[in-house]
Assembly symmetry: C2
Homo-oligomer: 136 residues x 2
Amino acid sequence: MSDLLERLRGRGWRMTSQRRVVAEVLDGDHVHLTADEVHARAAQRLPEISRATVYNTLGEMVSLGEVIEVSTDGRAKRYDPNAHHPHQHLVCSSCGTIRDVHPTGNPLADLPAVERFGFTVSEAEVTYRGLCPSCA
Amino acid sequence: MSDLLERLRGRGWRMTSQRRVVAEVLDGDHVHLTADEVHARAAQRLPEISRATVYNTLGEMVSLGEVIEVSTDGRAKRYDPNAHHPHQHLVCSSCGTIRDVHPTGNPLADLPAVERFGFTVSEAEVTYRGLCPSCA
DNA sequence: ATCCTACGATGGACAGAGTCTTAGTCAAGA
DNA sequence: TCTTGACTAAGACTCTGTCCATCGTAGGAT
């Protein structure tokens, strides 16, 4: 899955050492880092990288549609590089671990017209909660 | 639906003027106020009520299971007094309006065992997004 | 290869949301 | 009524995120 960097290059995104390091740090499966975690890991490779740059870079990746923003706990947002395979999230209520999951069925179809209040509904986001094997 | 206060009294919850005002302000249908909004409204009736008290009180109502915490936008958490009728939320992507909705089906059943990663899954929270009539 | 310049990076101030601490107050049982 | 443990006020503090002015540099033009 090490292709976030390639996807970004392929879009003609201006490359800098900071942007490269952020993309490298964020790449992978089941990766859901907070901005501060990204900053900490990026700073191991490029110590002078600033927080603002990490926020800017993450924000652009989200705008480009190459990274998804996830907020499962009302605290810091998390960033998920797995943007091209639709999925939902399974969160451990105790330790906060997050896994990408792929439920069957389509939740959008489960919302009857009378329950839509005239909205144009375009998306359904599902968060499953429970205890992970280590916390159970 | 004016029964949040009754439910709390019925649990032997120690009653104070601050707690009563918070409960009164939060009661109703399709109510999803932020802590600051609750504080502002409570302060109209009880001007010296402090932010910390509002946070404490809301936190206790959530612990008691009489109020639900909702975070739909990664910004301030919202508080929903409709805790005894399971429901999901429909959010306007433009103005942030929230409605309580009741989808058919059970999203928990849509998560196959192989997608559970050994978790004990207990809950599925669905957020529908779209545009409300005024914003469309 | 070197120069330009628009775009990106930096660091610090600022803002919003929420928590914690400490001293003082009060609801409710004896 | 008295007592006391639980509750509240006020503000400092933390965490997350944004904004701004200034400096630096990637990459096209020459």
